[in-house]
């Protein structure tokens, strides 16, 4: 005969078990409700650079001044890129997790356990996770049911995945670039280089462009992975190229202190510009402007046609992120812990915000929000005050 105390004991056990199960499953899952797409009309930021040309140009203006919308402190440092799709922030950390947060509500949607540091890209309802190190380094997560669709060994990956018409392009650290199918992760072709690759691939007009530690910028045929041309610089190329389809240029910096504009069809140098420091991050492209930062603490804006200097802005330390163009504002992060907003046409500082630590994560915009991460594991999401005032 069951007594009251037995019931109490059983209830307690059920609660404990239920909580454990919830915690267990809650520990490693990201599930997106396909019907929760409140902001479908807003442009998404599905991969590093915002688009396959990696132009770091968001079509909507996030206007300063900005105010803090929310700050989160994570257990580990956030990796170099954040993506935002349908109001969900996705990012990997440098230790074992991928996170999803709602940018509007600030609520954590979920996290996924990985083995090492990782970064993300989005295609259809799949979250592509590239791990920096390990046995299986490229994963496709079905965001509707939290299942891994496929997981493959793509080699160590220090770059960002590229989604192009024919599939996923990964430039792997140990000297090879590969094309995989989105559906199954099947490798379609491989291109081998002479040295390690940290530069992320960019796409333009049927071609794949990337830099290499051997100092060269390569152009491959997207359909078969064959080299079309390569362009040699004097130093390792860690930066990711930006592709301007209008000007038919591949725009990229090198550790030899020079920024190059290369004809995307022929591989010939159109112009180059010498800074006073290494150029290790991506450039941003907007109309006739190309903007990039350097380890000499300067942000440069050049005329995309001829490389003439339009303006430069000096920070207190190394510019450690790619610039983000949002309307007529350029956002950038620096090792001086500041997030800057600079006027695109004049190069004058409009606004800045001092974070908790050095900023190495590229700022990303979505709707009226701006997200960036700083050292010591902080995620910042800002919101435009101007928009709010308009709404009041």
């Amino acid at each position: 005969m069951k007594t009251k105390s037995n019931y109490k004991r059983l209830s307690l056990l059920a609660i404990i078990m239920g909580t454990s199960i919830l915690l267990f499953f809650g520990c490693s899952r990201i599930i997106i409700n396909p019907e929760m797409q409140e902001h479908q009309l807003l442009p998404n930021w599905k991969l590093a650079g915002g688009n396959p040309q990696r132009t770091f140009n968001y079509p909507l203006a996030v206007k300063p001044p900005l105010e803090i919308h929310f700050i989160k402190r994570l257990p580990a440092a956030i990796d170099r890129n954040i993506i935002v799709v349908d109001s969900v922030l996705y990012f990997g950390t440098q230790h074992e997790h991928v996170y999803a947060y709602n940018i509007v509500t600030s609520k954590k949607i979920g996290k996924k356990n990985m083995e090492y540091a990782s970064t993300c890209a989005y295609v259809d309802h799949q979250l592509l996770v590239a791990e920096r190190y390990g046995d299986k380094t490229l994963h496709s997560l079905n965001l509707y049911n939290n299942d891994w669709m496929w997981q493959i060994d793509a080699g160590d990956i220090e770059s960002e995945p590229l989604i192009c018409p024919k599939g996923i392009v990964i430039s792997a650290l140990y000297n090879h670039v590969d094309l995989y199918t989105i559906e199954s992760g099947t490798k379609l072709w491989t291109f081998n280089t002479n040295d390690q690759i940290r530069s992320s691939p960019a796409y333009g007009d049927g071609k794949i462009f990337f830099g290499c530690d051997d100092g060269a910028v390569y152009a491959l045929d997207e359909s078969n992975g064959k080299e079309i041309w390569h362009f040699q610089t004097e130093g390792a190329v860690e930066a990711t190229p930006a592709v301007d389809l209008n000007a038919r240029l591949v725009l990229i910096g090198s550790s030899d202190f020079r920024f190059y504009a290369i004809n995307m069809d022929t591989g010939n140098e159109v112009w180059s510009f010498r800074a006073n420091g290494q150029l290790l991050n991506n450039a941003a492209v907007s109309f006739n402007n190309v903007i990039f930062g350097s380890t000499d603490n300067k942000l440069y804006c050049l005329n995309i046609k001829n490389g003439a200097l339009r303006w430069q802005y000096t920070c207190e330390s190394v510019i450690s992120t790619s610039p983000l163009i949002s309307g007529d504002i350029v956002f950038l992060g620096s090792l001086d812990q500041n997030l800057y907003a600079v006027d695109l046409s004049s190069g004058k500082k409009i606004w800045q915000y001092k974070t908790h630590g050095r900023i190495r994560t590229n700022p990303v915009a979505w709707g009226e929000y701006l997200a960036v991460a700083s050292e010591d594991n902080y995620l910042y999401v800002f919101k435009s005050v101007e928009k709010k005032e308009q709404g009041d």
Partner: protein
């Protein structure tokens, strides 16, 4: 050689009031604050620069260099330092040795350091602006490396990964501050050609040595040249992926240690072996003059018509000045010591690698020694074995390389003043009058007189290439005051030496890669650099290096050769003939006439603010511990240490409790607070304490004692080797003996005075030369209840007789004496004193101990290799010993002793493991110690394992 800290005094004081604690380290040399610096802070964009007003210009030069380096490294590392970096500058090495930022005594070879706890960088200037800037860059590379590595590991949550290997850390600092220079080239050539290069797999065997620095530099250069400079930072950035650095290399450049060694060493051999085609090892083509130890800075003279040389050597461990006949090329005659160094305050250091010596035609030696606060310039009659004169001047701190005029009445030398500027001086020896020849930022070295006394030749960085650390030879016209070039170019021309007939000038130059001896002709006519009249020729073609050439009067040159990672004196004969036969002439053409370099200081671009230094404290150490003892139970506590930025003011806080029940909490509460002031020559400390708890010793058995009170202590160094210490301690003592059920209250007042001397030279496991002693007098009295009143005498004398390089005979004579009411007992027994007897099982108010020990090497060095790596151990040493002693209260009735053998094994640099075995013996009648009837010994053997340095 440990510096006594006031904390040790505190421990001693506290111990003296209960059981005796005679720690092994109540000797030690002294770090003396001769100068009271008026510290200021120069705040630049990224740095807080601590300096004193006398060296303000040098501080501004250093500040500009630091900011320039910061920009350079920010780019190189793609990283920044997000805190202000403290840089502490001293204007010369003598001042640097006074720093309290580290408790260690700083040898001359330390050119600066980066200290992790407060992130301080501490650097002395040394007269050369280039060297000062180079050391700043070296240390800032450490700051950036440490910061980036820490950040990489923290971001990936891998802070448990090991640090970067030391060869990488120091190699990178050298590579990014020097690049590559002739000194590094010489050392690497020497290592390759003499087969002592250590591969990366085994580089741990030379951990911390100068060779490791240079090999690390060579490895980093090879990686940059072969794989690209960007790989260096990638090596740091990949350390989160794997714990073993060999694997990090594999991930980054595709080769692990073993594979890397193969290609690196092969490339070195390919590069260096062909040198032997037209270069020679010095030992193969010159006469050997010395063989053992490091021997440098030769000077030539004749004694009773026979040719002799004098030189500085550390062949026995201490640096001395020696002489020997030049004809003794096989070193059959042991060099004769004429001046002993490093044992007395008159001759603390001869600057063995920096300062030349010289001997006049009258046989008078001129040399420099550190002596107290500054260097002193001495003259010494070799024949009469007598110091003739000594010179020192206010505001001149360091001297080097005195050179006699031909008449033997004047000495030219280099001196660094209080501001850190290096200039040439002349002293008129009979009158002591001082003349300053130069007065600028440039570093002027190694003067030598012309025969007519009108010209001084010297080496200086006042050339346009001086900005890059290059030196050329100049001449100074004493009548006109004009300085003109003798050599010119982007290389180093050093230590000029004039031939006896005045026709030739020899000097050492690295203009073709490493230092060799070059000569030119001084033909008396107006000297012009662009013609070939001077017939500049390279006379020696050594693979490694030659320094300090000195002419004899027999057509030969004696010099210091670097080979087999050592410095030896060698002789090159028939110099003039060799010179005349050389066809190839080098011409130095001056492309930029009369070009000197302008030293950069802070300009308008960098903002700077100057403020007076006020001590601010932050935490250096905070640690806690919990321990469990089967007798005393559990205790737990914490200790904190706080110091100011300069380390001059220190606070220590200790708290712990060993209560076993709640009731006992306040009865078992222990707290102590100490403040120490090390800013002045007399170091002082004072503090308050409350100690309470149960104790035990073999005499008192278990007792409870509660003590609270305060103390004041002072330590005044008379010299580096001797000091006087005093302390006063007043405390309330409430003591209860459990088994006797007896309690006693007292208000105890103790005062002690000690005189300590220590000039010992240490081997791997303990002293092997010199002597040390501690003589202490004290009195403890109960000023309230008269329950306690005793006086204390401690005399501990230890002498070490050097038998050979590594063999010594050590003698210890010790007595400790307490006499009076409730005189505490001393304890003896165990591996640290009377061996063979249980530790601290012999006690009494008086004790004596006599130890004799013969110390010798046993195993020089051994290496244990594991699959995942290896460990190198320095020597295992042996000893034979005899100890006699005892402790007693009223009457000494018998004498205890032991004899036996021992082994000492140094583990990890600070821990020495000891094993002794032998026999105990007894002299049962202390009144008749030599009566064989009273002698008995133990059956069997005793065995004792313990740790600790030799006495």
């Amino acid at each position: 050689m440990k510096r006594v800290s006031l904390i040790v005094i505190l421990m001693f004081l506290l111990g003296a009031s209960s059981s005796s604690i005679y720690a092994q380290y109540y000797f030690g040399r002294n770090k003396i604050q001769y100068n009271s610096f008026d510290w200021h802070i120069l705040k630049t964009e990224h740095f807080d620069i601590y300096y004193y007003p006398e060296m303000r210009e040098m501080a501004e030069i250093g500040a500009a260099a630091a900011e320039e380096t910061y920009t350079f490294l920010e780019d190189k590392f793609n990283h920044n330092i997000n805190r202000r970096i403290p840089l502490i500058f001293y204007s010369n090495h003598a001042h640097f040795q006074q720093t309290n930022t580290t408790p260690s005594l700083l040898p001359e070879g330390v050119g600066g350091f980066f200290e992790f706890m407060k992130g301080r960088v501490v650097i002395p200037a040394n007269g050369s602006v280039y060297q000062f800037k180079r050391v700043i860059r070296h240390e800032l590379v450490h700051v950036f490396t440490h910061s980036l590595h820490y950040r990489v590991l923290k971001n990936h949550r891998k802070l448990n990964h090991p640090s970067l290997p030391l060869w990488f850390v120091e190699g990178l600092a050298e590579y990014w501050s020097i690049g590559w220079n002739s000194e590094t080239e010489s050392i690497i050539r020497d290592a390759v050609l003499n087969n002592y290069l250590y591969p990366t797999q085994y580089i741990y065997q030379i951990q911390g040595t100068f060779l490791m620095y240079k090999e690390g530099q060579a490895i980093l250069k090879y990686i940059a040249d072969t794989y690209g400079e960007h790989k260096i930072i990638q090596l740091i950035e990949n350390t989160w992926k794997t714990e073993r650095f060999s694997n990090v290399m594999k991930l980054t450049i595709g080769v692990d240690y073993k594979e890397f060694d193969k290609e690196w060493i092969y490339s070195l051999k390919k590069n260096k072996y062909p040198l032997l085609e037209d270069h020679d090892l010095p030992e193969m083509v010159t006469n050997k003059i010395t063989e053992e130890g490091i021997n440098t800075k030769p000077a030539y003279y004749r004694l009773n018509g026979e040719p002799y040389i004098a030189f500085i050597s550390n062949r026995i461990g201490y640096s001395n000045i020696y002489t020997k006949p030049l004809s003794d090329v096989e070193e059959k005659i042991k060099p004769h010591v004429i001046i002993e160094g490093e044992r007395s305050s008159e001759f603390e250091s001869f600057h063995i690698l920096k300062s030349k010596i010289d001997i006049s035609k009258h046989g008078v030696l001129a040399f420099v020694s550190k002596s107290g606060e500054t260097d002193v310039l001495y003259t010494y009659d070799i024949k009469r074995d007598k110091i003739l004169k000594s010179f020192k001047w206010d505001k001149l701190v360091s001297f080097s390389s005195p050179a006699w005029s031909s008449g033997g009445t004047k000495l030219a030398f280099t001196a660094i003043n209080f501001a850190g500027m290096s200039d040439l001086y002349i002293v008129d020896v009979p009158t002591g009058k001082l003349f300053k020849l130069t007065n600028d930022y440039y570093d002027d070295h190694d003067p030598v007189w012309s025969n007519d006394g009108r010209t001084i030749y010297f080496s200086s960085d006042r050339t346009v290439f001086g900005e890059y650390g290059n030196y050329n030879i100049f001449k100074y016209g004493l009548e006109s005051g004009e300085i003109s070039f003798i050599t010119y170019g982007p290389h180093n021309d050093l230590t000029p030496s004039l031939s006896p007939d005045g026709k030739y000038l020899a000097f050492t130059s690295d203009r073709d890669g490493v230092f060799n001896i070059w000569m030119l002709t001084l033909n008396g006519s107006e000297y012009r650099l662009t013609n070939t009249e001077n017939q500049l020729k390279k006379v020696t073609h050594f693979t490694t290096a030659a320094y300090d050439p000195v002419w004899t009067d027999n057509n030969s040159i004696v010099f210091t050769a670097f080979e087999n990672f050592s410095f030896q004196i060698r002789e090159q004969e028939d110099v003039v003939e060799t010179y005349e036969q050389i066809a190839e002439v080098t011409v130095d053409s001056m492309t930029l006439p009369n070009s000197f370099w302008t030293i950069r200081k802070l300009d308008g671009k960098s903002s700077a603010e100057r403020v007076k230094y006020k001590p601010k404290f932050n935490l250096d150490i905070a640690q806690s511990q919990v321990s469990q003892d089967p007798i005393y139970g559990v205790s737990g506590g914490a200790q904190l240490a706080m110091t100011d930025m300069l380390g001059n003011y220190q606070y220590y806080f200790l708290i712990y409790n060993n209560a076993q029940t709640r009731d006992e909490f306040w009865k078992s509460f222990n707290v102590a607070l100490t403040r120490a002031n090390l800013s002045r020559r007399a170091n002082t400390s004072y503090g308050l304490y409350h100690f309470a708890g149960r104790y035990f010793n073999m005499y008192d058995d278990f007792f409870y004692e509660r003590m609270y009170g305060g103390y004041f202590a002072v330590s005044y160094p008379l010299s580096v080797f001797r000091r006087i210490e005093g302390s006063i301690n007043i405390r309330h003592s409430d003591k209860y003996w459990y088994f006797d059920d007896y309690s006693r209250k007292a208000l105890l007042f103790s005062n002690f005075m000690s005189y300590v001397k220590d000039n010992t030279l240490w081997g791997p496991t303990g002293p092997i030369d010199g002597e040390r002693f501690n003589l202490t007098f004290g009195n403890t009295i109960d000023i309230q209840n008269s329950n306690v009143n005793f006086y204390t005498i401690i005399a501990d004398y230890r002498k070490y007789f050097r038998v050979s390089q590594q063999v010594a005979h050590a003698v210890r004579l010790m007595t400790r004496y307490n006499h009076g009411k409730e005189a505490t007992r001393f304890f003896m027994g165990g591996s640290w004193d009377l061996r063979g007897y249980p530790r601290w099982r012999i006690w009494g108010k008086k004790l004596f101990l006599i130890s004799n020990e013969f110390r010798f090497p046993f195993i020089e060095r051994f290496i244990v290799n594991f699959p995942v790596g290896g460990m190198a151990f320095s020597s295992i040493r042996g000893a034979t010993f005899v100890d006699v002693g005892n402790a007693w209260d009223d009457k000494l009735s018998d004498i205890l002793g032991s004899y036996g053998l021992g082994l000492r094994f140094r583990l990890g640099g600070v821990l020495v493991l000891r094993y002794d075995f032998g026999k105990r013996f007894y002299l049962q009648n202390a009144q008749k110690p030599f009566d064989p009837d009273t002698f008995s010994k133990q059956d069997g053997l005793f065995h004792q394992f313990f740790f600790g340095w030799d006495f």
